[in-house]
């Protein structure tokens, strides 16, 4: 054992791996960026709607009822003479608040529980998992309808109710995603180095589960926007005159034959937004999965 080589059998640099290094760059294609841009525009427009110099979305004008698109009113006007363009943008506020808000609540609570349950296993997992099954067994839509009808239609109440309803679903997804990492040796290594459970969850597991969380978040937001639309159809979303994509479509039912613009534009806004969310979620997931599988 006298021969301790200095840089022993050191390996000649990293030949062959440099090309992989170049490949790792985030390569998602043009479609992804177009859809991301679309989502960004929609979100920004909704946030800064009041700064855009739009017409008042709730101000009717009886001179211009049920008009088609004009230069003054790009998307036309509705049965009360309100500007549809302005209402679509203000409506986005409601739909997006409910969508992103509810999923954020679901992610924070359900996601945290999911990671803890998958990492700790044992009784913690059994209790939380059973609770999630019980909640999932209950028809969510019925529950949401019942609670909204009972508690009220304010936007924050709807957001909380849908958010809570999404917890068990988020929990299952995050738990499953975490489970495949929680048994890997790097987690064991961290444990044996004395890392606390919290550190393992945040530093070792979370970055690995993040891709799954993001893609599920986007797809989840899309589903909640649809759910809001369904509630609006039942008259259980925010109350008129406040616009949301859902209740705009709902209100336009009766005018479908006279004024198709009324249903067309909010529907298009919703469809484009949902398609964009789903596609981005999907592309993100497959891209990040490929990176992972290159290991």
């Amino acid at each position: 054992m006298s021969n301790i080589p200095t840089a022993a059998d050191s390996i000649p640099a990293l030949t062959g791996s440099s090309d992989i290094a170049k490949k790792k760059r985030f390569d998602v294609g043009l479609v992804f960026w177009i859809f991301t841009l679309w989502i960004a525009i929609t979100v920004l427009a909704a946030i800064f709607a009041s700064l855009l110099g739009l017409q008042d979305p709730n101000q009717g004008n009886y001179d211009i009822l049920n008009q088609g698109p004009t230069t003054a009113h790009w998307f036309g006007t509705d049965d009360l003479g309100r500007d549809i363009f302005s209402r679509v943008i203000y409506g986005a506020r409601v739909s997006l608040t409910v969508g992103f808000g509810a999923l954020t609540i679901g992610m924070i609570i359900g996601g945290t529980l999911g990671m803890i349950a998958a990492y700790r296993r044992g009784p913690v997992d059994i209790i939380v998992s059973s609770a999630s099954y019980v909640m999932l067994a209950f028809p969510a839509l019925v529950a949401v309808i019942a609670i909204v009808a009972f508690w009220g239609h304010e936007i924050w109440k709807i957001t909380i109710i849908i958010g809570v309803a999404s917890i068990p679903l988020v929990f299952r997804v995050v738990r499953a995603a975490t489970l495949s990492y929680a048994t890997r040796d790097f987690v064991t290594a961290a444990k044996s180095q004395g890392a606390t459970d919290w550190r393992i969850i945040t530093k070792e597991l979370f970055p690995n589960v993040l891709p799954a969380i993001i893609s599920f978040y986007l797809i989840g937001v899309a589903s909640v926007i649809i759910l809001e639309g369904a509630l609006a159809f039942l008259g259980l979303s925010v109350q008129p005159p406040t616009a949301s994509w859902g209740n705009m479509i709902s209100e336009s039912r009766t005018y479908l034959s006279q004024n198709p613009w009324l249903v067309l534009f909010p529907s298009l806004a919703m469809v484009f937004f949902l398609v964009a969310l789903n596609l981005i979620g999907d592309i993100l997931r497959s891209t990040l999965d490929v990176q992972e599988s290159q290991l």
Binding site: N3, D9, I11, T15, G16, D19
Partner: protein, 356 residues
């Protein structure tokens, strides 16, 4: 003895054709990958005689697995390019239609895979997995095929085979599953069996059993076997000839005894030297090969082993050495510009052992 004669009735040995069973000529298999063209097999040629066992040894990325799948024509078609020739009993495998291949697979050529758990269908009883190909290729009826399945399980050393045919794969241990895989592969008495790392997932004591079963059946049935392994130990005692692969090419091929007695290619020698031996005392410093196996997308210029070879010269780094015969032994071929002098390397040889 009686069993053996019974068997030869069932499986007549037809050796009227004296030529080699398998002729591979300048086989090239490349895949298109996101990183570029992957040269998995890069100009491989060899013959396989009837009844011969050829060992193919190599590390990861040597192309040994792709070579064996190329011979079976089992590779996925997308992004695949192949050239050269694989002639099996006069049939050109590379241009054979799927219909022709289906009459060969299982019947004339079969394969034993590394992981019996994934290659057996988990929801089908093992009896049916054996009889399926029997009935397809030999036209046996159900009772005949069942009797044959029981007989095959007996031959591969599975106790109480009458009960075992009704088991599902998960009810068997790893070694038993690999025996079942061998029974399936041998069901139609193929002329060639490709065994790709057949014992890698098994324990040491079971590994020896499985290799013995394979060797016994091969001798009884006069089959040819290609035994692919990363482990020199597995091929050393069970083969007539050994081909050493590196970077998608055969770098040395010789009768087994000759190879171990007079290895010419520095890589072969380094591979043997870096393997720890039971016969060495503890704490012997191993002769490690520096660096790592080549990337098949970016093969080094010249000899693929040259970046890791301590004998490499300028010529090695620029020109690919051809596979040529040794001066004193026509059956010993190697691809090296600076072969090791053919002085016998320090290996204890028993006088009785001789090349087949």
């Amino acid at each position: 003895m009686t069993m053996a004669s019974e068997r030869s009735e069932n499986f007549p040995i037809h050796d009227e054709n004296p030529g080699p069973l398998l002729k591979v000529r300048d086989l090239r298999t490349t895949f298109t990958t996101p990183r570029g063209k992957l040269n998995a097999v890069d100009g491989v040629s060899f013959d396989l005689a009837r009844g011969e066992t050829l060992g193919i040894v190599g590390e990861s990325g040597s192309g040994k697995t792709v070579l064996s799948r190329s011979i079976m024509s089992l590779l996925p078609r997308s992004g695949l390019e192949q050239s050269g020739s694989i002639e099996f009993e006069g049939i050109e495998m590379l241009s054979a239609t799927p219909d022709v291949l289906r009459t060969l697979w299982g019947a004339k050529i079969s394969m034993v895979f590394q992981d019996p758990m994934t290659s057996l269908n988990p929801v089908v009883r093992i009896g049916r997995q054996i009889t399926e190909s029997l009935r397809l290729h030999t036209g046996m009826d159900k009772t005949e095929a069942n009797a044959m399945a029981v007989s095959l399980l007996t031959q591969v050393g599975i106790p109480s085979p009458e009960q075992r045919v009704r088991n599902y794969p998960h009810q068997l241990s790893g070694g038993m599953r690999q025996r079942v895989m061998i029974a399936i592969a041998l069901a139609c008495s193929p002329r060639l069996v490709l065994a790709d790392e057949p014992t890698t997932s098994l324990d040491v004591t079971v590994q020896a059993q499985i290799l013995d079963v394979l060797a016994k059946l091969q001798e009884e049935r006069h089959m040819s076997v290609i035994l692919v392994s990363h482990d020199l130990g597995v091929v050393a005692t069970r083969t007539d000839r050994i081909a050493v692969m590196y970077g998608g090419r055969i770098v040395e091929i010789a009768p087994t005894d000759r190879l171990f007695r007079a290895m010419a290619m520095p890589y072969t020698k380094a591979l043997v030297a870096s393997t720890p031996r039971l016969s060495q005392p503890s704490h012997v410093r191993l002769t490690a090969i520096e660096g790592r196996p080549p990337d098949l997308v970016h093969l080094p210029k010249g000899c693929a082993f040259s970046p890791r070879c301590s004998y490499a010269t300028d010529k090695c780094h620029s020109e690919v050495p051809p596979l040529t015969a040794s001066r004193d032994n026509a059956s010993h071929l190697f691809a090296c510009w600076n072969p090791l002098p053919s002085t016998p390397v320090a290996i204890t040889t028993t006088p009785g052992s001789s090349a087949s």
